[in-house]
Amino acid sequence: MKLRTVGYYFRETFRSVRHHSWMTVAAIITVAISLFILGIFSLAVVNANQVATGLVSELEIAAFLRVDTPPEVVAQVGDAIRRVPGVQEAILVPKEEGLQQLAAQFGEQHDLLQALGGVNPLPDYYRVKAVAPDRVESIARSIERINYVESVNYGRDVVGRLLEVAAWVQWLGMAAVVMLAVAAVALVANTIRLAVMTRAREIAIMKYVGATNWFIRWPFFLQGLFLGLVGAGVAVVCLYWGYNWVIARMQLALPFLPLVTGQEIVLQLVGLLVLLGMVVGSLGSLISVRRFLQV
């Protein structure tokens, strides 16, 4: 391959893109739409996972101490809890605070302590956080065995359910993203094949005039690369804008939701999409051309 031929490949790619502008536009539209949908969906899945995990990780274990626990032992029990593997933090809620919380539930006008005859019947307890939601159950069982711990409460049901839901969200999300990626590749490959098919006659003529397969392939490869790049570019620009717009609005409206705002993940996704577009575009062209080179 001579250098001037490389020049020819690029000029030819440019000429072809311009001349078959209809095909070019059609292919770019398909790439852009496919990758845009794939991107949006990926971001939705990442966010759903994050929200689900966030919800689960807000769950806490309440470890109630015996009512007769001597005050000097309370801190030791706390240390014992913190030594349980998987515990992230353990915060003491003294019985006075517990009573206040209880009173708040019933309405504030109402002096519960007085109603109780000045005796606080509640125990001290520790609010314990786990490093990961799936550790909650084993941690609870370990804490139960510590001296002076009367009982442990961790919303067995809720944790279980949330964990299960989170697992399904993750699983289904992954499946959907993989499926969408396959669909995007199929759609793009399909369109490119149609576009190449319309040039079957041209490819045959080139072969009869003595062109080698690679002489014909290179411009198609470059064109596919170009289509993929432009299509993916359109997709990621829309995606980036659209996502930031929606996320900004959602963060204002729902500040408590742990949405994915880190630019890195978006940029990573952008990179992946552009790569995918280029690979599918160029390889799709090459593979589509193959069939028509057999003359």
């Binding site: 072809s16 041209e202 003529i205 080139m206 005039v209 062109a211």
Partner: protein
Amino acid sequence: MIQFYNVTKIYPTGVYALRDCTAGIEKGEFVFLVGPSGAGKSTFLRLIFREELATRGQVLVGGRSVSRLRPREVPLLRRQIGVVFQDFRLLEDRTVYENVAFAMQVLERPSKEIRQRVPRVLQMVGLAARANIYPQHLSGGEQQRVAIARAIINTPPILVADEPTGNLDPDTAWDILQLLLEINKGGTTVIIATHNREIVDRLQRRVIALGQGRILRDEAKGVYRREA
């Protein structure tokens, strides 16, 4: 240069286009291939540049069997052969200039050479004024002349022309024939399938007459005539 040994061509449609044809064409010859419509002239030519493969028998070009070429050798064979197709086969998305230049680009010739030679050849076929027009915007005869220009641009060792004057008026046809004779003088083997009685009779060159796929006649100084 070109040998046919007992060549039979049966198309997938079941049509016998050539039956047991044997013929040899030497380097530098100028041959007319004649015969009625559907006789197998185009098929004969297609076998030479390997658009089709013989069903039985052997076609040798430059001493090598075209059916035994490896895929990567096929383009090398075709670069030895300039072809004027009966249906022209011009690239619709390229101008006249680009169509002709393409045959040189395939050979990776220097751009400078291309820029010099293409206008010269377009001049020879009388299309200098049409260089930047797309084939769809040419008259039938103009398209045919583009096809001729593309076939001769590389002065190939073999030139195969299928009905190269079918869409040309007698004068232009004669001019084109002079051009082909000129190229033949330079050593190129020329094979022309034609119905142009006037030209065949006037030039008195070798004539191979086909009829229903068989070689009916092969004369060194032949004329166009009705076969029995």
